[in-house]
Amino acid sequence: MRTGRTPWAMALTSAVAIASLAACSSDAGGEASGKQVLRVVSLLPGSEQAAFDAFDARVAAFEDANPDIDVQQEEYEWEATTFASQLAGGTLPDVFEIPLTDARTLIENGQLADLNDQFEQLDYAGEFNENLLEAGRGEDGHVYAIPAKSIYGVALHYNRALFEQAGLDPDQPPTTWEEVRAYAKQIKDATGVAGYGMMASGSTGGWQLTAATYSRGGVVQEADGESYESTIDNDATRAHLEMLRAMRWEDDSLLADSTLAWDTINQAFAAGQVAMYTNGSDVYNSLVETFGVTGEDYGLTAMPLEGEDAGALVGGTLAAVGAQADDATKEAAVKWIDFFYLQNLVEEEQAVENAKVRAENGQAVGTPVLPIFSREQYDEALGWVEEYINVPLDQMSGYTDVAFDQPVIGEPTRATQEIYALLSTPVQAVITDQGADIDELLQTADTQAQDLLDQE
């Protein structure tokens, strides 16, 4: 076929366009200038500049120690809504963080890389708290996800300044739910500020309701051989919902916002709009990182525990790598996990270096968490960095005095996030509807949860 000049010009243009398309879309990942590129998660989006400075300093130290690895950081917040598709699409950073409870299913689905070989190289591989490590093991006994970052127990956080304004002794935080309610009312009456806040949105409401259920001696699911039974419709959960409703509608001491999630309730607490709330014991880190909280008014105490089987809900974070990663990436990834998450717990020099950098940048050092290794190891590591500890430890003693001795209960293991989402509905209902039928709400959630459990 004879063609004029112009069609070829167009063909050329199209070809260039397609080529540039391909080029533009393929620049993610891969190796640059012979270095192994490793994409890692940095901080929550919107963190303070100082927090990023501290992180950058750690990255620089890592790259000095591993000149063949080029670390690229991405802001990251684990979100139920985007995690699954990002993982499937391979667009998560090479090393990412997942909730303890999600590891089992992800491993079963073959979505996480087998890190066993690299993990075994760590000198402290044998020293992990075995229960924790188990959460990241597959059925083949291999390690796919490594305990990292933090293991938290849910605890009660409170604003000491508001306690004082209401005539309460900030060194005597509440130890029973009755006291929580009474204090909340006293604070509301005296200061006009909501005495208590409760997460309610997405799956966070169910998460905190489960923690409250545990603290009153209940559980939301029980294993029965191979199958699981939903026990959402139980007295402990009911009692807590009744209390929340009473606080909202009789005392007017509960923050009237049913859209609060993990981040927004932190914001409200940091801004002094709520005096008490429950969240992971390590949330002080985020309060500093994101809101520049300075700590004079911060108080931390243990969850009130009531009843025979009561315990504090514990959860945690694992670091993992996507299934499609090659050996070089896995190698680099475990080096990073070792350096960034674990070394400062087991190795004095690193621990001191890390604490120094964080303290210099105004980030929290010494926030109480639960040990990833042994209790002794944890205390020893805390000793190394003593001079850098800048969190108000004496205002946290209500928690630290009992943290290692109080009974703890792991999160529900099956359909965790989905069941949390179901449990958020009754929480939202009692916050927004004075006449909410708690029995019916719990029955509905229980039926739906059982359906989910039966599908597994």
């Binding site: 076929m1 004879r2 063609t3 004029g4 112009t6 069609p7 167009m10 063909a11 199209s14 139920a80 809504t81 985007t82 995690f83 699954a84 598709s85 499937a88 699409g89 909730p99 999600d102 299913t105 992800l106 689905n109 073959g110 979505q111 309610a200 949105s201 997405g202 009237a256 916002d257 049913s258 859209t259 996030q417 989905e418 989402a421 958020s424 509905t425 009754p426 939202q428 209902a429 916050i431 927004t432 509807d433 909410a436 709400l441 509905t444 739906q448």
Partner: protein
């Protein structure tokens, strides 16, 4: 055989024509036709992107068995109804009145249209603050000024949906009004002249001439509004995330939750199945719409 064009072009037209068609073919092929075909297939499959299996009508069964479906349909219907009540007569009255404005008509239209150009996300975040349920909240302060008790706005299953619709109406009414205004200018003046010969009053002219002349546009905006509200997402997602207690869970939000709301793998099949059901409903409306536009342009 070619229908048009000059003979000399016919021989060379093939390739160059194809090159011109290429952008359309590629973009539509990959981002319209392929996904459409894929959605038909996917609704009968279960996939977590690693493994895929055929499940027949299971996805549809699961959708119908989901207790949230009824909630979502009822909520979406409620949203649509409220949007009609709030937003349908308002722009019409304003447009009819405005069409009689003699000076500075542009100012009127610009004022009415301004909210339409505010980015929807900004509008929602701003209104979220207006809806602060405390007595110090913006709207509650205004209500207080006229002696009305504070309303819970988004913090109540009863008030949440009307609050969403109020904002949506604010954001969109200007656009509808401009359409009415344009249609009003096309009412043939002779009809008014004729009515005046019969001694009709202003009200009668509006009632018997203006409104009947607008019936086409009114019907069309009606259907467009239903189509739009059936797919409402932004407001329930950003204002309340479907809450409190699922009071603002809409069909599209449910689809979103199936597909993107689960941390351990999505239910793409179920999401597509529900999308197709919604699409079938909307397609019927669109067909009616296109028949109407065709009819009205033919007369």
């Amino acid at each position: 055989m070619r229908r048009r064009g000059l003979p000399r072009r016919q021989r060379t037209g093939g390739l160059s024509t194809f090159l011109f068609a290429l952008p359309l073919l590629v973009v539509f092929g990959v981002f319209a036709w392929l996904p459409i075909g894929r959605s038909l297939i996917m609704s009968f499959q279960e996939t977590n992107l690693l493994t895929t299996s055929w499940v027949g009508l299971d996805n549809f069964r699961a959708v119908f068995a989901d207790p949230r479906l009824v909630t979502a349909i009822v909520n979406t219907g409620w949203f649509a109804l409220l949007a009609l009540v709030f937003g349908y007569p308002l722009p019409l009255v304003a447009a009819v009145l405005m069409s009689e404005v003699r000076r500075r008509k542009g100012l009127y239209s610009a004022l009415a249209y301004l909210p339409v150009v505010v980015p929807p996300v900004v509008a929602v975040l701003l209104w979220r603050f207006f809806y602060d349920p405390r007595p110090e909240g913006v709207f509650n302060t205004l209500l207080g000024a006229v002696g009305i008790d504070p309303l819970p706005w988004l913090q109540s299953a009863t008030w949440a949906m009307p609050s969403l619709v109020l904002e949506a109406t604010w954001a969109a009414a200007g656009g509808t009004m401009i359409i009415y205004l344009a249609a009003l200018t096309s009412v043939p003046p002779e009809l008014y002249d004729a009515a005046e010969v019969d001694g009709a009053s202003i009200w009668r002219k509006v009632w018997h001439v203006t409104l009947p002349q607008l019936r086409g546009v009114l019907l069309i905006t009606f259907i467009l509004q239903i189509i739009g509200t059936a797919q409402v997402f932004l407001e329930p997602y950003l204002f309340t995330n479907g809450g409190p207690a699922d009071a603002t869970l809409t069909v599209l939000l449910l689809i979103y939750r199936y597909a993107f709301g689960q941390s351990l793998g999505a239910d793409y099949g179920q999401a597509t199945a529900l999308s197709l059901l919604l699409a079938a409903f909307l397609a019927v409306l669109s067909l009616i719409y296109f028949r109407l536009t065709r009819n009205w342009s033919a007369t």
